[in-house]
């Protein structure tokens, strides 16, 4: 039976914690999980998508309100890695940003398309006290 690993962390709504979350994602790529691909590349991608997702949650969903909080849950199940970012915002139509055309000279708008590109499944849904962004990576 495969071991399961889960990390459940709560952080204040401040960008100074981006580094902490990114590093957790990066380190998880080197955990003893079943994965035959390039772990350095996986570490970079997990760092990047978590940084982008948490930045969106802090700056947009939670509108940089320091009284709000974020919860991040990272878990393995079989050969699947799930990362959830819970915010206290009102939600938005994430799919409208997923394939949006970003011009070379645009200063913003690359984060969500990057998440969609690097993850296998992305879903953003409302729940009782905010929203949750779930990002799934198949580890095959």
């Amino acid at each position: 039976m495969q071991e399961k690993i889960a990390v459940d962390i709560q952080i204040p709504n401040q960008t100074q914690y981006l580094s902490l979350i990114g590093r957790i994602g990066e380190n998880i790529a080197y955990a003893p999980i079943r994965f035959n691909g390039d772990r350095d590349e996986l570490a970079f991608h997990l760092n990047l998508v978590l940084t982008e997702a948490v930045t969106n949650a802090i700056c947009h969903a939670n509108q940089e309100d320091p009284s709000k909080k974020l919860r991040i849950v990272i878990a393995f199940s079989e050969s699947r890695l799930s990362m959830k970012v819970f915010d206290e915002g009102n939600g938005f139509d994430i799919e409208s940003f997923a394939d949006s055309e970003v011009k070379e000279t645009d200063e913003q708008g690359r984060g969500i398309p990057l998440i969609y590109r690097l993850m296998n499944h992305v879903q953003y849904r409302k729940q009782r006290n905010g929203c949750v962004l779930e990002m799934i990576k198949e580890l095959q």
Binding site: L18, S19, E41, F44, T51, T55, T105, E107, R110, G111
Partner: protein, 111 residues
């Protein structure tokens, strides 16, 4: 964000002394570049040798500098990208926008 600047004639090299460039610290680089543009210094080299990770906010700051330099008839060039940073430019196709050099000396010689 920890930055240092070196002037080489009309060219200013900004050395980013951080391991990460993200939404927490990349605004400081943008501000530093805007201050240099206000002083009429429009030819910049950004030395990223210490930077191991850059996200879309970090790229946004560099794109801002690139556009501001170009509109002032100057240019912003990059040097010393670590592999993950190079990958980020390739993922976003921005490696086709910026002039990227292996060393600061090569970037300086290109002016």
């Amino acid at each position: 964000m920890q930055l240092s600047t070196e002037e080489h004639g009309e060219i200013v090299k900004i050395v980013v002394q951080e391991e990460r460039m993200d939404a927490h610290n990349s605004g400081a680089l943008k501000e530093e570049m805007l201050q240099l543009f206000d002083e009429g210094k429009c030819n910049l080299i950004i030395d990223l040798s210490a930077v191991r990770f850059v996200d879309s906010s970090g790229l946004g700051a560099l794109v801002s500098g690139f556009k501001n330099a170009s509109t002032r008839d100057g240019s912003l060039k990059l040097c010393c990208l670590q592999p993950q940073v190079r990958s980020m430019f390739e993922l976003t196709r921005l490696h086709r926008v910026f002039e990227i050099f292996g060393s600061a000396a090569e970037a300086l010689e290109s002016y």
